[in-house]
């Protein structure tokens, strides 16, 4: 049924909707991912991570506020909102304020090309994947601004480490994604999903239909952990060395902004990996004979469900790794990037090219 899916119907209809001269529909299209990030970061991001880490360490996690501690996040938000907005006297005020903003904007801009199902995407650019990889650069500048603006040596060290890490890991990540682009023959996020949808469900995913795809898949997953500063690559905020890295001096809502940006980019990299290697919004269930399970679970709403579930699965794996693995040293981090991941990414690139030519 994949051919009959009409792409982008919801977002196209929305973007044509004007209220007088004011493009209300476009604002709504932009607001949907924003609301999604906020909701998911509050529920699954903060509360879920606390509970998951607690269960992994044989604790209970938050239990006091509300049943099973469900209202803990709300209490935290109230606390963050009421906090005094402190800007250190020695800090560079302008950069200190603008840092978290640039970082959040950079994280949020990538959501433009993330399809929430076949019917909804911010903008179906024909350079979608390239855009999603490239716009991360904005986040780097935000980190540098906040690290320098704090006027604190730990913050500056954290920022410099973070930027070195993100810039280095962009290389294996981009080559791994290039392998995916070679398999699909496109850079448009929607076309990736279309190419991997079909009546046999998960059998059409590149991870299962291509014998080499597991290598770029693994490389991109490891590199994406480093790009989002998640453990075991969280050396920019290593508590034992740098207090909290580039957000040492931040409190209140500015601190919350960093968290939103981090959770936003966590979902973004999970979304990219599920789109490129695991079919995005394509349903994983196969049609079994006349029992058309795949057809039943395809469509705009189901598509949104599948891509969000795939994203959440990878976020769960990220949390799992965070509470399982110890942190790497700085030199080990660079060794892993330049001497392990990058050569293997080149090998994966050549093998994928050979497979695509002779398959």
């Amino acid at each position: 049924m994949s051919q009959s899916i009409s792409l982008n119907t919801w977002s196209d209809a929305l973007s044509g909707f004007n209220l007088g001269w004011f493009p209300l529909g476009l604002v709504i299209v932009a607001a949907v991912p924003l609301v999604f990030i906020a909701l998911y970061a509050l529920t699954y991001g903060v509360y879920g991570e606390r509970k998951i880490s607690a269960f992994m360490q044989d604790r209970l996690g938050p239990m006091e506020v509300g049943p099973w501690g469900l209202l803990q996040t709300l209490a935290d938000i109230l606390k963050l909102l009421q906090k005094e907005d402190i800007v250190p006297t020695a800090a560079d005020k302008f950069l200190f304020v603008i840092g978290p903003l640039i970082m959040f904007v950079g994280s949020f801009l990538a959501f433009v090309v993330l399809p929430f199902g076949p019917a909804f995407i911010g903008a179906d650019l024909n350079v979608g994947l390239f855009y999603a990889v490239g716009i991360v650069a904005l986040e780097v500048v935000g980190i540098l601004a906040s690290g320098w603006g704090s006027n604190n040596k730990w913050a500056l060290y954290g920022a410099v480490r973070s930027v070195a890490q993100i810039v280095s890991y962009e290389i294996p990540a981009s080559i791994a994604l290039l392998c995916g682009a070679m398999m699909a023959g496109t850079l448009s996020m929607q076309q990736f999903c279309v190419a991997q949808s079909g009546p046999y469900g998960f059998m059409h995913y590149y991870l299962f239909s291509n014998p080499i795809a597991w290598l770029p898949f693994l490389i991109y997953f490891i590199a994406s952990l480093a790009e989002t500063n998640r453990a075991p690559f969280d050396i920019p905020e290593a508590e034992s060395e740098l207090v909290a890295g580039f957000f040492t001096e931040y409190s209140g809502m500015k601190f919350a902004m960093f968290f939103l940006a981090e959770y936003g980019s966590m979902f973004m990299v999970s979304g990219i990996i599920s789109i490129v290697f695991l079919g995005g919004w394509a349903s994983p269930l196969p049609n079994i004979g006349s029992f058309a399970l795949n057809t039943m679970t395809s469509g705009p709403a189901w598509g949104a469900f599948w891509i969000i579930m795939k994203g959440f699965f990878f976020i769960f794996v990220q949390m799992w790794l965070r509470w399982t693995l110890p942190r790497l040293r700085v030199d080990q981090l660079m060794y892993l990037c330049w001497k392990v991941l990058t050569p293997f990414a080149f090998v994966a690139f050549v093998l994928t090219a050979v497979w695509e030519i002779y398959k």
């Binding site: 001269w21 493009p23 476009l26 350079v127 991360v136 650069a137 500048v141 320098w148 810039v167 850079l187």
Partner: protein
């Protein structure tokens, strides 16, 4: 999206580009200049989008924001006594500067008015831009492409040689 909204968005981005570029030049603080450059690059990328060349726009962000700006910021931050030096932003050499400015404006206006109708390309773009760029680099522009790659390779080798941990040099001391 109607024409009015489009022009409003265009002028917002044009203003961002020009004002931040002016800030880069006139600011007395190197760090502020470097960070203002972010908005200039970003505004230019947005203007590329208005020219329907989204590939160039994304490349602009990747190369200039992700590469050059970060390198620049690193350089500025690792330079000693960067906050103490007062940059010279006074007006010097007024007469030669004005002549140069007028000449440049005249040149641009001359080109703008003499190039009456812009030539449409003989190959009309169909489908993906990226695909077309790939075909062109691998066929018609093969030689410049390969030469650029050799230049980059030589630069990489040179950088690696300069930054190398020198064993023999270390033993002398």
């Amino acid at each position: 999206m109607n024409q009015l909204t489009l022009s409003i968005i265009f002028y917002v981005f044009a203003a961002v580009t020009v004002l931040s570029a002016a800030f880069v030049v006139f600011s007395k603080n190197v760090i502020y200049s470097a960070f203002a450059l972010l908005f200039t690059f970003f505004g230019v990328a947005a203007l590329y989008v208005f020219l329907s060349s989204d590939f160039i726009a994304v490349t602009q962000v990747v190369v200039y924001v992700g590469g050059i700006l970060v390198l620049l910021l690193f350089g500025v931050m690792f330079t000693n006594t960067i906050m103490q030096t007062d940059l010279k932003t006074d007006v010097l050499h007024v007469v030669p500067g004005t002549i140069l400015l007028l000449l440049m404006i005249a040149g641009m206006l001359y080109t703008f008015y003499t190039t009456g109708d812009w030539m449409p390309g003989d190959v009309q773009l169909q489908g993906s831009v990226v695909q077309r760029v790939g075909f062109e680099t691998m066929s018609r522009y093969m030689l410049p492409f390969e030469m650029a790659s050799i230049v980059l390779l030589v630069a990489l080798l040179g950088a690696a040689f300069l930054a190398r941990y020198d064993n023999a040099h270390k033993n002398e001391h």
